[in-house]
Symmetry: C2
Subunit: 240 residues, 2 copies
Amino acid sequence: MTEATRRERLRAETEREIRQAARALLVESGRDAVTLRAIARKLGITAPALYRYYDSHDALLRQLCDDICADMAAALYADLAAETSGQVGCKVRAVCHAFRRWALAHPQEFALVFASPRDPIGADQFGSVFLQLAGPLIASNQAANHADSPVPTVLHEDLVRFQQVLRDAVAEHGVTLSDSVLNLGKIYHVVQSWVRLYGHVALEVFGRFPFAVSNPEPMFDTMLDQMLSDIGFAEDVAVQ
Amino acid sequence: MTEATRRERLRAETEREIRQAARALLVESGRDAVTLRAIARKLGITAPALYRYYDSHDALLRQLCDDICADMAAALYADLAAETSGQVGCKVRAVCHAFRRWALAHPQEFALVFASPRDPIGADQFGSVFLQLAGPLIASNQAANHADSPVPTVLHEDLVRFQQVLRDAVAEHGVTLSDSVLNLGKIYHVVQSWVRLYGHVALEVFGRFPFAVSNPEPMFDTMLDQMLSDIGFAEDVAVQ
DNA sequence: GAACTCTTGTAAACACCGTTCACTGAAACC
DNA sequence: GGTTTCAGTGAACGGTGTTTACAAGAGTTC
């Protein structure tokens, strides 16, 4: 069954160990500790050997970002699957909670993927995670057909583009959305929800609220309620 | 008049040059380029000499954060002062615009101060900037006395603490706020506004919107309108 | 099985990094 | 004038990314 050569298997195994070691170093000691020599030390090899697998330290970090995105996506999917109620609002809430939980449990990973001024980071990876999560949720919410709240015309161009991206993402799940379900007002609210979700989580992870918040979770829940109501899931969810 | 010794003057001058060099390196080439040896090279001295001024590389970075916060505060104050209309809403809008403009013009500084998982960063510095800006604005908005929208009781403890912090900040400007002006609902909206402001700006600086936004400024303006209306400045501002 | 190539690793070297330490020379002080 | 204080030096230590030449085993070809 396995087409892989013995050599190919060994190579794949080593590569897996490299990623694993890099990840462990990031988690344990932060970005600056993810060193070629430290990784090599963990594997019992020398640093230059790593150049047989990655072109540079930077390339290895990029791969690390992709791995993190994939793992995060898996965690979010798992929490989404655990939410078995049919209510879409509950699912959205579950994913948002999962995102916050993941970020708080993996601050170094979060910082690397979501708060790096460098461009090469796996933005594509993350974007596809976002779409693959948002797509089905939106698709399963055809019932919640709300009025199109007006959006400034300056935003139309961007929102229409995003509308198309979302439509494509949903289409991969075999669902076609009408303009009334996926109207521009709702698109705008999706973007605004991401702004608030990301804002709260990043502020919490980085400790940049302007005062000490002793109990951030209910604050997050409250924001989530407001967000869900804005986006059209008001009645789905009982306040926890 | 100058009590400073010649030696003291020279020392102060050198310290200023160190900060300036560190800042230039950060801006030009990012956080990782802010190296003791690179700084020393810019000053024409050797790296160990810097230990006469800072205990470690880390201490120097902390100082850099403080400097950045101070400069950012100065930029925000300048833009606030340029907004001469009496309307408080316009002033809030001006400060928010200034924050976005500053962040986009100084992505490396923004990342260092606002998106570092490390604690030692100048969180105090930033908190005081926030309070010294928010304080007067809230103080000058006594007229806008809005009804207290209900806030979950779980949040009361934290919001009351923040209320006290804000009250103290405002008191330093010789203004005493009544509970009706600074009610918990409004406090909550202040926090939520910071979440949205930070969220939008960070997403824009780090390029983490889930799709390409060709024209983020009107999106920011639209969010600002919503924010100001939430917080009680609805009628102050004409949409730009 | 021998000869060959391809792959994976090594060791040495280069230039860079933070940090420590013993030192120099000049300014400041008494 | 003698002494202390202090900014700065040079050498050194162990760490880093990266390149280079080289060894040794795996896979392939005849």
